[in-house]
């Protein structure tokens, strides 16, 4: 029995890191632009398609495709910000949120028309390979996704803590007005966090392509799960996002184990509402600097 429970726990941790990495992207963008970027999940799916088509047409192994997909996502992120969001940043968070919605709708349907609604997944030769560690079965691809997520988190944390730009992002996330007083431009930090968010989405996309089946409309639910992870972990914190995701993954997996099918999802949303109501600053955040 303990073995089964541990198996569920491990599965939960592994799948939860996916949510976590999506949540970190959301957290970064929220920090500077103060919107919950609802199109994050769809971006991840877009990247997943990128990885998928690279595999199908060019035979590029998905893990190698990271080298292409992530930089492309970074650049796409810069492009999206400059093209779509820069202009409205001044008008407030609400129009920005609506543009994010519009972007999501646009991309989802664009992908639907171009790629059809059939579920896709990258089926490599090693896709079903599993390791057995201490009696616990660990799927190789999920383990790789876990490692990727950790690497992504590590990279972002390093950036934020050790580089001047990263510190500028943290400063601007805390208080944009004060940041302007030392010469930090809002557009600069917005662009950086947006690009980073997209880069992380690229990483998550490759992970998604290898671990799940996906279709153009999977993005929205992914975004919602990322939001739940963020709410659990705390809006402002990178580590919080990851931990929130992991916790969500664990809760989901246990719920799925105990209840039948779709009720597990209901549990996730119920947890979401409960956390929002009783601990809105998240379970892991140190300081409530969330300005609303």
């Amino acid at each position: 029995m303990l073995k089964i429970l541990t198996q569920v726990l491990v599965n939960g941790i592994l799948s939860g890191t996916m949510y976590g990495i999506a949540a970190i992207g959301l957290s970064l963008i929220f920090g500077t632009m103060r919107i919950v970027f609802i199109a994050q999940g769809t971006m991840i799916i877009l990247a997943a398609y990128g990885s998928y088509w690279l595999f199908i047409f060019l035979g590029i192994d998905p893990y190698l495709s990271i080298v292409l997909v992530v930089p492309a996502s970074l650049i796409l992120g810069i492009g999206f910000y400059q093209g779509l969001f820069r202009k409205v940043a001044r008008a407030g968070q609400f129009p920005t949120l609506l543009i994010a919605f519009g972007l999501m709708a646009l991309l989802e349907n664009l992908m639907f028309v171009m790629f059809t609604g059939n579920a896709r997944a990258v089926q490599t030769s090693y896709a079903s390979y599993a390791l057995t560690v201490l009696g616990i079965k660990v799927s190789f691809v999920r383990l790789m996704a876990f490692i990727m997520a950790l690497a992504g988190t590590g990279g972002v944390t390093f950036f934020l803590k050790k580089t001047m730009l990263g510190k500028a992002v943290r400063a601007a996330s805390e208080n944009l007005e004060y940041a302007m007083m030392v010469g930090i431009t809002p557009h600069a930090v917005n662009t950086i966090t947006f690009a980073l968010g997209m880069g992380l989405a690229g990483l998550a996309g490759v992970a998604t392509a290898t671990t799940y089946g996906f279709d153009p409309f999977s993005g929205f639910v992914f975004s919602l799960k990322a939001m739940i992870a963020l709410a659990i972990g705390g809006m402002g914190s990178v580590a919080g996002g990851l931990l929130g995701g992991i916790l969500l993954g664990v809760v989901e997996n246990y719920a799925a184990f105990v209840l039948t099918g779709g009720w597990a999802d209901v549990v996730s949303y119920a947890v979401f509402l409960l956390v929002l109501m009783f601990k809105p600053e998240g379970l892991f955040s140190r300081d409530v600097s969330a300005k609303l």
Partner: protein, 246 residues
């Protein structure tokens, strides 16, 4: 007479339909300490917000080093050499002392000199050296004020603007703060000081003006205004209690 460093002529500023500043004019000469005094709500902070680019005057002219600056963005102002220490210090409380200072040199004009500036600030404010790894939010009020000033100096400003540096500080700490301002003055930093603590503000000022409900009511040297009986009657009674004695 040489061109003043900063000059404001007939500035009118408002928030939406509510006008806050009416026909405000003053100038700040290079190397001097200029104090703007007045009671709460008189419009002092609005002046600083306008000067640092957060507000745009609806009419009037603002000039810095001879060129027009009204309507420039806050970041552009920093790059020109105008640094503001806002009311409430403006620190990044979740970042360390050192990080706050480093970010102070973020602007283009000061970036290359960051190392030097950092060393200079550390020696000018030894307490900051001691606390450099600490989160800015965890320091005492006086220490935070020092950090805020030091951070503003990291930007190598030509004009340093201080918004109510004595606010919320104990009298003995206030004294230290003003001693610091005096030290800066001795080093040749041009300072625009906005204060409710009339006594200290006028003592340290070369020149000063009084703001009352958005209008400039008096301008003169620090000494002149300090001795003025009207000012004594209007302001000293309230703020005099907090002052220490020379």
């Amino acid at each position: 007479m040489a061109n003043p460093l900063l000059s404001a002529a007939n500035i009118n500023v408002g928030y939406g339909d509510a006008q806050v500043l009416w026909d405000v004019s003053f100038r700040v000469e290079e190397g001097e300490v200029f104090s703007i005094i007045g009671s709460n709500g008189a419009g002092k902070s609005t002046i600083l917000k306008t000067l640092s680019g957060f507000l745009r005057p609806s009419s009037g002219t603002l000039e810095f080093l001879g060129s027009r600056i009204d309507g420039m963005s806050p970041v552009a102002m920093v790059n020109l050499g105008v640094s503001l220490v806002p009311e409430g210090r403006g620190l990044f409380s979740t970042l360390t002392v050192r990080e706050n200072l480093e970010l102070g040199a973020f602007s283009k004009r000061s970036r290359a000199l960051k190392g030097e500036s950092l060393a200079a600030m550390m020696s000018l404010f030894p307490i900051l050296t001691k606390r450099q790894g600490q989160l800015a939010g965890k320091m005492s009020g006086g220490e935070q004020q020092m950090l805020a000033i030091a951070r503003a100096l990291m930007a190598k400003p030509k004009l340093l603007m201080l918004d109510e540096p004595s606010l919320g500080l104990a009298p003995i700490v206030v004294r230290t703060v003003f001693e610091t301002i005096a030290t800066l003055k001795a080093k040749g930093v041009t300072i625009l000081l906005v204060e409710q603590n009339i006594h200290q503000a006028l003592r340290i000022a070369d020149r000063a003006c009084v703001i009352k409900t958005g209008h400039v009511t008096m301008t003169g040297t620090g000494k002149e205004l300090l001795a003025d009986p009207d000012i004594h009657r209007a302001y000293m009674g309230l703020s005099g209690m907090r002052d220490d004695h020379a």
